[in-house]
Amino acid sequence: MIIYGVAILAFCYVVGQIFGEFLGKIIGVEANVGGVGFAMLLLILLNDWLNKKGYLDKNTENGIQFWSQMYIPIVVAMSATQNVKVAISSGLIALFAGIVPVIICIVAIPFLAKLSKNTQLD
């Protein structure tokens, strides 16, 4: 059933996010540390395990697939609620302080990507 898929996804989300909240608390920051990441890892592992046990049918999977298909529409809605006005009207310093780091990081990407490709070959 569809709801099983949605519930599995919700389970991973809740566990991962709560873990992220606690991790943030433990290292003393006012932010969720890696909650989404932990939830994703949990989903991958759970999905793998359920598949091996044969518990996943097409409908259950569809309950999860639906949300990954909704991802782009949700991102469109998210960008429509960004504070774009403040980004544009805060003057040149905000513009540069936002753009310069992006450029610096872009330059670093090929270098780091090479490192990860080298690891691949091991």
Binding site: L41, I44, V76
Partner: protein, 253 residues
Amino acid sequence: MEIITKFLEKNGLVFAFLVVGLIIYLSGIISEKLTNKKIPGSAIAIIAGLVLAYMGGIYSGGEKGISDIKIFSGFASMGGSMLRDFAIVSTAMGASFLVMKRTGWVGALSLFLGIILSFLGGVIVALIWGYTDAISLTTIGAGACTYIVGPVTGAAIGASSDVIALSIAAGVVKAVVVTIGTPFIAKYIGLNNPYTAMVFGGLMGTTSGVTAGLAATDPKLVPYGALTATFYTGLGCLSCPSILFLIMKLFFV
């Protein structure tokens, strides 16, 4: 007329589904007819979203883009962090655990490097603009990480409110630049495989920018970029007000 607006306000989320569906449909047509599919429809839709956010901000004077206009208030639920993170997690279904494990340490390295490089970039810009005190420099540098790290850092080390506002603006600019820029630079930086996507997520860090940018480039890459980016804001909130601030205090008053 009033009946309709009242109805749309009450049923905001469903109305947002309808409007977003229309935006994506029109973007698909624009992509095909005007750009010959060179610019993907999803990239056009996301940029259209940003334009709507700007117009909404101008019209309403609020901070939440188009959702500050009452009949579009459902955009706040649809594009809010709960549904966004829920959908991001679901993209992990098709992701390979093996790839994540193999790129793990480079991903971690890219996180630390991403925070330090962004911080330095922000500090350099602030210096050029005449800021010389460690608190302001650190806050603006933190804002160059993400728009959450900036105010958290600023509040922790006691920055003035206009500097904090500036740090938020810098973070929003970064998110917007990454969103729009990613599909266009992807070719040049080899952003077409999960390994590079993980490095990209770690270096850029801004979850909204990274996930939107990757969605517009190639939706298959989203889970890999999101996986590293999700650690960035937390690590930034950890390191900016502490070790990076202490280092700044060595060089500035």
